[in-house]
């Protein structure tokens, strides 16, 4: 992956006076959906602001698709940032807000109108609302108009700071589906969100950060496997969970077993997932237990967050 396809942080640190923003972050993000995960004040927004030039690194270098934010003309044609600041220039309608931004790209009025209308349609903000003053918008509508402004010029990199805040479940699902579509189109979509369960489903990779330090990064499954000190939890649906549990406990990598409420499955914790799968295969071949399904149970951003950062990600 070359520098012109990636977002790169090379040993980047940011200090706000004596306060640490982020420290020694080296990170390369390839196209797809990346979720930044971390508690409040962990440095997620600082990373996004560094990426888009709203703050400058105290040390190190940030480049996005080989471009630097100081080259604003080219940089912001490729990058859209939906920041979490819930404020707007005064006295504008939603449509004017998006249109004003597009006009600054140097395009014709006709093209700008077309792109503004398209962006509003993509975020599903209806036309009557778009022509009302933003001051009268609900929080969800303000979130949508910010998203529309960020995607209107068809950027290759979309940075979204808490984009699901204030959205109702339906709008959240629509936004996630939009992010997925953009990710499939080969765009970089970098999201920070505290709604881990939802972003987990669409993310190609996670970046875990706490206290300004990068804890882990990569595909969720890879990151989970790297967390070796936490036994992996799996759910096995089978006809004889009690027998399966006893066979599993005969080996020492299995540390916990818990019967599912319906009696037709079992949660198992294992310290060695490779050995576990080998044993499970043997049991399946023996035929004593009929295994219907096996699924990792803590192979998600929420669980990884809990293991690596310490608190429950859902309560962020």
């Amino acid at each position: 992956m070359t520098g012109i396809d990636t977002i790169r942080f090379d040993n980047v640190s940011k200090f706000y006076g004596e306060v640490l923003g982020v420290n020694r972050i080296s990170l390369t993000l390839s196209p797809g959906i990346t979720t930044l995960v971390g508690p409040n004040g962990s440095g997620k927004t600082t990373l996004m602001n560094l990426m888009t030039g709203l703050v400058q690194p105290s040390r190190g270098k940030v480049s996005v698709l080989g471009l630097e934010p100081s080259n604003a003309t080219e940089f912001f044609c490729n990058v859209g940032y939906c920041a979490q600041f819930d404020s707007f220039p005064r006295g504008l309608t939603g449509f004017q807000f998006v249109l004003d931004t597009l006009m600054l790209f140097g395009m014709s009025g006709e093209d700008a109108h077309g792109l503004a209308a398209e962006a509003l349609e993509r975020v599903q903000l209806d036309a009557s609302a778009a022509h009302r003053n933003i001051a009268g918008y609900s929080k969800g509508m303000r979130q949508k108009i910010r998203l529309a402004q960020a995607i209107a010029h068809h950027p290759r990199v979309l940075v979204l700071d808490e984009p699901l805040n204030g959205l109702d479940p339906m709008a959240r699902a629509e936004s996630l589906s939009l992010f997925q579509e953009l990710g499939r189109q080969g765009m970089h979509v970098v999201i920070s969100s505290h709604i881990l369960d939802e972003v987990d489903r669409v993310s190609d990779r996670v970046v875990l950060i706490t206290g300004g330090y990068l804890i882990a990064q990569g595909n969720i499954h890879e990151v989970r496997q790297e967390v070796r000190d936490k036994p992996m939890q799996l759910f096995i649906r089978c006809d004889r969970p009690d027998l399966l549990a006893s066979k599993m406990f005969a080996v020492n990598h299995c540390v916990e077993a818990r019967l599912h409420a319906d009696g037709r499955g079992i949660f198992l914790r294992t310290g060695d997932v490779d050995q576990f799968y080998r044993l499970l295969n043997e049991i399946a071949i023996e035929g004593a237990v009929k295994i219907e399904a096996v699924a990792p149970f803590d192979d998600n951003a929420n669980a990884i967050y809990q293991y690596l950062i310490g608190s429950d990600g859902s309560s962020l």
């Binding site: 604003a72 990058v79 404020s87 707007f88 931004t101 140097g106």
Partner: protein, 283 residues
Amino acid sequence: MTELIGTLRQQPWSLWWIQFRRFARIEIRRNLITKRAWWIYFLAFVPAVIIFIHLLIDRHQPSSMTEDTNVLAGIVQFYYVRLGIFFGCLGIFSRLIRGEMIERSLHYYLLSPVRREVILLAKFFAGSVSSVILFVFAMTLDFVLMYIGYGGAGQDFMLHGPGFGQFQAYLLVVTLACLGYGSIFLLLSLMFRNPMPGALLLWGWEAINPVMPSLLQKFSVASYLRHLMPVSVPAEGIFALLTVETEPVSAWVAVIGLLGLIAVVLVYCCFRMRRLEIRYATE
């Protein structure tokens, strides 16, 4: 040098010009048409109200025209340059960047594909246009109200006498005052979270500047403007400090000197703008 010229030629000047105009249009729309600027309108038009009352209640004898001309010169020198334009520009120009930071909306512009220098210069241009339109209009109104009561004598003073020349000189003074104070307040707003203490210091500096050494006088807007005043106001006591010309220089030197000062301030503003960070939490 050839390399520099080559690099300059390669820059997207036409795009920057389009962005500058569009940005300035957005800013002028927001600067001029806002209820929040009521106090600036008040500052601009309060002399017009007083002159209008004078028009209604005073008998305008031709012999009192010289006195009224001096009063008008005093209004420009003591009121507009020292108070009205000074604080009006403080309101307009310090809002351009700092106001947007307080309202947490500056990041939208910093995230647009516009060079920060273009953003800054467009904002300065918009602020200048807004303040010049406002104060030139207010001063024109002052002129009209001051001499309309004299009827034919007033018309003759304006069209065939020294009136029109004085009017042109005041237009130049007002325009340069807006640009000069505007650039400084823009810089103060880029340097400090609250530009007001800096502005008050500048206000004091402008007042005591005539007694400063000649070199320091060059760092004052009012000192340049003093050389452009078409009418000397007979001032006494502390007011004499505001009108005294310690080192008379020609008008064009004063204009070029002030434009040079504005250019230096704007270059430094551009430098600050490039390093500006969005940290709304600290605002």
